[in-house]
Symmetry: none
DNA sequence: CAGTAAACGAGACGGTACGTCTTGTCTTCGG
DNA sequence: CCGAAGACAAGACGTACCGTCTCGTTTACTG
């Protein structure tokens, strides 16, 4: 089965890299509002057409940049479910906190993470972005649920556990604090969170 | 220092009402992007000056509109903490679901709530909005925490309960589903959620 | 009948002047291709919106500029029809020659008048410009025809003269040389032209 | 010195034909602005490279297309100078009128001939086109002048006739009407024109 | 018949201007 | 002083085309 030779000039990998680099820089430094296609093109020494050939919209570019930034929060399974969940929560929190700093003058305590919200908002403006985000979180959550399932099968968690809700509670608490209440999220919080979820309130 | 009676023509209450009405209509119908100051002014038969005299920014107007829409999620205390929390969760979910529909053509299943995210994003753009939102959620959460505290004092919840985390878990799960994963949130889910939080995973 | 006071802020006369000045400069210096809305706006220290509020298109602006430049080729009637026609031809030729220089580096012998052609082309792209140009030339020719008619009534021209054709021959020859063949047009040529037209070829 | 046989693959005659056909179609149907290299390439099922290998510029292609369209306005010499000139004028007018229709929706009375002007404008943008056009009109006019000279030698025209001006008057009038005033040009007009030029105005 | 030179299809690329849009301010007149 | 009307500055957006380039492929002539 002969490899069907590609037609036409191939896309430039340099351009790709330069664009993403410039966009990342702008996004982290000046936030979503400070990310302009015009300036990305200029900084990447690339024509605007080259941007739009790859990403049909500023929103798409921004989402791609952030997706790359948060690419891999790997999940490790040590057999200690309490520790594994706490580690995972810390990784997720880390990703969020990195975005939290975006567009803030250093020292300024960013009470919320406008940039994260802007990206969620982008989902609302483009169905394809929404879909992409959906698949992304589905995959991510699937991995975490496997971790939980293994622990349950080992007998470390209740047999009738609602793993979907458990994940919502855990990840949700982080996003809620970062996006909505603007309260801090760190290792200590991750521990309290996992403890509360595992032990219950009764 | 004598009371310095207001000079000049007083602000028109009709204008206020017309503006908020028009803005609400646009926001719910066409989403945040479809809310333009120009069009609000036209529909309210009001000059743009009049808008900006009252709200310094489109973001401020939008936030004000939404704040009005979600004004009152009252908390009731029947003594049955499981039921009370479930009711409260359902109210919060209701508010979110109402925003979820914004800007969607009827029938279209809105996987996420772009408009909610836009408003969170607005917080990231204006410190005063962030502050306002902070105070709003602080008050709201304070009420919910009182409910929990009363239950604990009655002995219905663990003595060493981390009530801050409990609320994060509950509200967070809702926001997470609405904003991030785009999964549905209804009475049934509220029940599962409260059950999981109260009973724990172990 | 009371003058109905204009509503809203009136258009800025300074902006008008600055725009036309900048556009004229660019058009004459760099030709039609060198006239860019972007640069006109910058040079006039004016927003692009201000340009487009006045002229819906680059073509419209360019035409307006040129119309202003050629505004008044007055016709004088001394009673000597040969002299009057020659003078008029010279004036028309002057206007054309001024456009001929547009966009040419000094010293460069412009064989044709691209800019004039660009403006005629603009008529082909916008019906309203075509109409405007039609009215302009109608008025211009009407004045010239009056001159001719007076001469005929005096008995200085044939009684059965076709004055429409006479004008076409005269003005046409000038435009033909400037636009098509690229041959020069000056006072001497104007004299030959009028002589030939009045005396006939037989 | 032996004929140094061409190296490499010869140019495709099919491509040539397809390109010119597509370009002609587009130019006549949608005018100069509607003639885009991109679309010519697509319609001719040819790569853009193939276009630019033959014509360095869109302007060059357009000019070539039109040159082909107006290739031959042959001049016939019957000995009756009035008739011969009228016939020639009619042929020239025919060519212009064909261009006049370009880019017009059928039925729409094209007051002017934007496409002709666009081509003249193209001369202003490329010296080689200007030169080409110069040579073209020189040859054309030379033939017409020979016709006139023969008539003069026969004694059918004044001995001191200015044949250059005579031609400017005749052709100029046609172009002037088509390009500038937008008035119609037909056989009847050609007759009036030749009559006026031959008989004079005095 | 193998080698090579050029044409060719496909499509990415840099560049540039266009015309549109929206925000928030400013200026005028009138109540 | 408020309001209505609308002009204004600023600046990004996404589109369109041009003419150039870089691939891989095809078609001739040539040694």
């Amino acid at each position: 089965m002969a490899e069907r030779g590609r037609r036409g000039r191939p896309r430039s990998a340099e351009a790709d890299a330069a664009i993403v680099a410039a966009a990342t820089e702008l996004l982290l430094r000046h936030g979503y509002g400070g990310l302009s296609m015009e300036e990305v093109a200029e900084r990447a020494a690339v024509a605007k057409t080259t941007l739009y050939r790859r990403w049909p919209t500023k929103d798409h570019l921004a989402v791609a940049v952030v997706a790359r930034l948060q690419e891999d929060d790997e999940i490790t399974d040590t057999g200690d479910i309490r520790k594994d969940l706490t580690d995972y929560m810390e990784k997720v929190a880390g990703g969020l906190n990195r975005m939290r700093a975006a567009g803030r003058r250093p020292g300024e305590d960013s009470t919320s993470a406008g940039t994260v919200a802007e990206l969620v908002a982008a989902s609302g403006r483009h169905d394809d972005i929404a879909e992409l985000r959906g698949r992304l979180y589905a995959r991510r959550n699937a991995l975490a649920r496997e971790l939980i399932e293994r622990a349950r099968r080992r007998g470390d968690l209740r047999a009738d556990l609602d793993s979907e809700v458990l994940l919502d509670q855990l990840a949700g608490a982080l996003y809620y604090r970062v996006l909505i209440t603007g309260t801090p999220v760190d290792r200590a919080y991750a521990e309290r969170l996992v403890a509360a979820a595992l032990d219950g309130a009764l």
